[in-house]
Symmetry: C2
Subunit: 629 residues, 2 copies
């Protein structure tokens, strides 16, 4: 076996503990829907009780949306060579509108299946691809428009509700339900998600469910302005090939930190095989840019690309199970000259490939001219469109320019053509945009693209911080998410400088989970503030472990705390090294509260009335106000 | 000598190279004003010429605002024991409204000067403190209101202009001047800063110049909505005492990365001596919270604090040269009960100390009742007020509540009282606020406090990411800076968890420089986009070193790039490891541009006309489109 092969086989047996280990204090739970095979995974974070001095009370466990899949479930028996268990196979079969094929129908898929050179790399249990039966349309949008509520839709309703209704009483009692009114800029968030609501959103095109019938391992999720803001992580190598198991492990690492979808942007010799391994082991939707592989097939010579070659690539990937394709069909010949005056030209790889092709042949993009044929493929497998913004700005200077807006209008026109085929669509957005011009992007997208979900890369709000572009873009992402973007494509600290490593991926995803959550809070997503409230209460009551566990990155929080106060006693201490043991600001209010409680009356009255008495008590208690060390 | 003493003496001789080293490609320049002793430091970043294939042209050096002081000047002879040279001593003396005292007039200051125990720690060249002559008022606001333009004001005008007028032609020629129109929410940014404009802003109270007459080493700067958004870094230890030289080095490290002011929040036995060392070596204004030291003097027993003790502490620190004091005079007795219903109570240390004192004595805060006497001290040395938000929210739950708003109104009332004494004032703000409620804070501050500069801590936009609060707050900071906040107090990744180390300080400051610059761009600050444009042009032309050097953190950018492509050849390569050598998206536009240039006509026309010809040329050139490796 080649070392590559060994890597795969070994990698398959061992999944590093750090990517599988359950989060401290958390356990995987499942909420069952209307049928036994509809079990929605969530993560439940246990909390310790409040100590007597803060008024001894139990604190309810907090349920959080869970993207990690079976990997964080100690019960789960994971073997990358076997892949994940099917979640949706039964549902897909029941619909009886698709059929199992004898094998791949793409020339490339067949070729690779027989290729002895890659035999060692091949995923063992290649599944037989399925395709819609003649004339059938298997998209979730098609079902939604015919009034059908699929199990996928019910699954998503349960998942987005995140047990809020069930927990309401417990949260209420613990004082965790209060939330600031949101400002949603036209988004219409429901008080509770119903399967019917999900159906309506998908039917209207305001949300998509990326769910290729050849990726039954995926746990259904929705991308739409009236759902939680989602985060995508881009993975994949470039020049230097990393081994397949590294790529698979990166995917598991990404969903651990909260990636809702993953785009596999791998290039190189074995992308077909790598993709198979990733899909079979991924519980989240996988997106790709088929053009990258098509270009590999013509050795990087864009001008040699043909519709036939591209078409074969779409089928190859659709039959593997890719859930959404980035298609740069909006890069039209007449728009290319508009980029001549730019500071950074065309920065989308797919966009520049097509611009190059258009110039070389001086004809309209084959993606644009063959768009209806692409729709035929998309609806035969339910691959969602992610209409690429090949002309997105690559610098603040180029933001919101003629080329970008011309392409956006074309994407709107293509959205209508895709919807005419009941194909699911989301629209890709910038890029680099200064803060005061971000809102225009959201508004233009909503009007030009009839409210199809917006999926943006950042945007970066300044160009002057290479090495910190997760932050320059996290600022823009939080804002555009608030304005209505449905999914935020992360940016790592390595953006513009190199390939992200595991550490960068974690930094990028956590930064984007912050942006997405800040946006959910700002929009007023029902129950979004519960986790903030619980963490703040734990912080005030010095429940350190709870504070760590309720955070987006418990490991880092604990590690930071322990740098200065490693001993266990510090985990119950009423201070941290910021202010030290001598005086911690959070204690005083507890005194006020206790006093009021003792009076058995409303705090304010008690305080107004008994302040004098309180004063005496204070002088007596003296130094006892802080926890003795 | 005690080890502490040794540390000081040794520390004094060696300033670590990493904190002094000039930035790669940068040199310190000085712009002289109307008098030879008015020399404003700036940093000039050199750029390499554009390679022939991108149309060979020279690229002008970029001037950037420089907070680092003499430390990054290789010419400067630094000795921490001697302190920095005076910048303002002559100007202060000329005004002939202050006199040199025989020595400290505070009891504590005198005591410490004679204390043999701390002799080894003492800064050698203690300067004789100055104070306003009887009845005189030495505040910059007092001068401004009498129509006097001080050298400090002229210095600031030159500094804020940042050579934009001088460089305009060069920037224009290089196509770097273009900038998006700003949205300033009522801020009135001038096209060019004049000394008279600075005077008017200070006279109106819309800006302050923190410039204690006992801190002549400071390089004048302004904090105001119509100036660049500034960043403050909090330094200082808590329980564990770090040695004095470590604190001084942390300050130098902070200004290297861009801190416009530094707050020394040190506690412990030697804060008086530590402060002296920091002030004598700091080119940026230093702020403190005098209450912290006052509390130390009564061994942490808040109820034992007295006005007399606090007053002595103000004089002690004013005579050392502290430029602004955080005074929590807005924490009034009747507001304390309003915090009883909060999730996280009182999170400001100074605020909780005063709340505790008020409760213990059941009387109004002595800071509030003695406010006019405090003004008398402030105007005798020109110490600016930073009216503390002792009741700021410590969680999203508590944001914008009754207690916070009641205190803000009181701060507005105190602003009027301070202004009646021609004392300079800025207002401290939150804290923890969800995005949709940030703007209210800015608007309330502007109306309640008559447009006095706002100085906020973040705000954090969510509570669920301990370990990443530089990011949760950087998002809020960028937004509130855009809305009109004049200075952003940084938050480090360690917030809520422990004391920041050097790495955390750098992360926090760079994050906040990003937020401040994003806000300047959004407001439309004149010339702000030049640096973004220059960096983007360098990026497009693959001038890697220029791209690193123009960034906020050249070291990290280079380090990240070199992780995957260390060899020098990669510094001229037309790709990075993100997309690899095979195909880099930025090349295509250059082809378009070159073609147009060759036709000697406007790009679009050329392209429309000659597209066919271009097509042929393309097919011929084929693979030559990318840089051969």
């Amino acid at each position: 076996m080649s070392t590559q092969t060994q890597a795969v086989q070994e990698g398959a047996t061992r999944v590093a503990d750090e990517v599988r280990r359950p989060f401290a204090g958390s356990r995987k739970i499942h909420v069952t829907g209307s049928r036994p095979d509809l079990r929605v995974p969530m993560r439940e974070i246990a909390q310790s009780p409040t100590s007597t001095q803060f008024g001894a009370e139990d604190n309810p466990p907090i349920t959080v949306y869970d993207t990690a899949g079976p990997y964080t479930d100690p019960e789960a028996d994971i073997d990358l060579r076997r892949g994940l268990p099917d979640v949706r196979a039964g549902w897909i079969a029941e619909r009886a509108d698709s059929e199992a094929l004898d094998g791949p129908t793409s020339a490339f898929g067949r070729e690779r299946r027989e290729d002895p050179a890659t035999a060692g790399l091949r995923f063992e249990h290649l599944r037989t691809p399925r395709r819609a039966t003649d004339g059938a349309n298997v998209t979730q949008m098609h079902y939604a428009r015919r009034g059908i509520i699929t199990p996928e839709m019910e699954y998503i309703a349960i998942r987005e509700n995140n047990r809020l209704a069930e927990m309401r009483e417990a949260y209420e009692a613990a004082g965790l339900l209060a939330q600031h009114p949101g400002e949603s800029f036209g988004a219409a968030l429901p008080e509770e998600f119903t399967p019917e609501f999900v159906r309506q959103e998908v039917a209207a095109g305001r949300a998509i469910i990326p769910a290729n019938i050849n990726h039954p391992e995926s746990e259904p999720m929705a991308i739409g302005r009236n759902f939680r803001v989602k985060v995508n992580a881009n993975l994949g190598n470039s020049a230097v090939t990393s081994s397949i198991d590294e790529e698979v492990e990166k995917m598991i690492w990404a969903i651990r930190w909260g990636a809702d979808t993953v785009m596999d942007l791998s290039t190189g010799k074995h992308i077909h095989e790598t993709r198979e391994w990733i899909l079979r082991n991924s519980p989240v939707p996988i997106g790709t840019v088929p053009m990258y592989q098509a270009l590999e097939k013509v050795n990087g010579k864009a001008e040699e690309l043909t519709w036939e070659l591209f078409r074969d690539t779409l089928i190859e990937q659709a039959e593997q199970g890719v859930d959404y394709f980035t298609i740069h069909a909006g890069v039209r010949l007449p728009f290319v000259p508009m980029t001549a005056k730019r500071k950074t030209g065309i920065v989308s790889r797919g966009g520049s490939i097509m611009a190059k092709w258009c110039l070389a042949h001086h004809t309209e993009s084959f993606l644009y001219t063959h768009f209806d044929e692409i729709c035929e493929i998309m609806k035969a497998y339910d691959v969602s469109f992610s209409l690429g913004d090949g002309l997105r700005p690559g610098s603040v200077f180029d933001a919101n320019d003629e080329a970008q807006m011309a392409e956006l209008r074309t994407l709107g026109e293509l959205t209508d053509r895709a919807w005419a085929n009941d194909c699911q669509v989301m629209i890709e957005g910038p890029g680099h945009v200064p803060m005061q011009r971000i809102k225009e992007n959201m508004e233009a997208e909503l009007s030009d693209c009839s409210e199809a979900p917006f999926y943006t890369l950042g945007p970066l709000t300044t160009d002057i911080a290479p090495g910190y572009d997760h932050i320059t873009s996290g600022i823009g992402a939080a804002n555009i998410g608030w304005y209505g973007t449905a999914m935020l494509c992360y940016v790592t600290p390595k953006e513009h400088l190199g390939l992200p490593n595991k550490h960068d991926v974690r930094e990028g995803i956590v930064t984007y989970k912050i942006a997405a959550h800040a946006a959910d809070l700002a929009k007023g997503f029902p129950g979004a503030q519960v986790r903030d409230n619980a963490l703040s209460k734990a912080r005030f009551e010095f429940r350190w472990e709870d504070q760590f566990n309720l955070g987006l990155d418990p490991d880092k929080a604990k590690e930071f705390h322990d740098e200065t106060l490693p001993q266990d006693s510090a985990k119950v201490a009423h201070f941290c090294s910021m202010c030290g043991p001598h005086f911690c600001s959070m204690k005083i209010t507890q005194e006020v509260r206790d006093y009021a409680a003792a009076q058995g009356v409303d705090s304010e009255t008690a305080l107004e009335a008994g302040m004098q008495e309180k004063a005496v008590e204070f002088r007596e208690s003296g130094g006892k106000l802080y926890h003795e060390q």
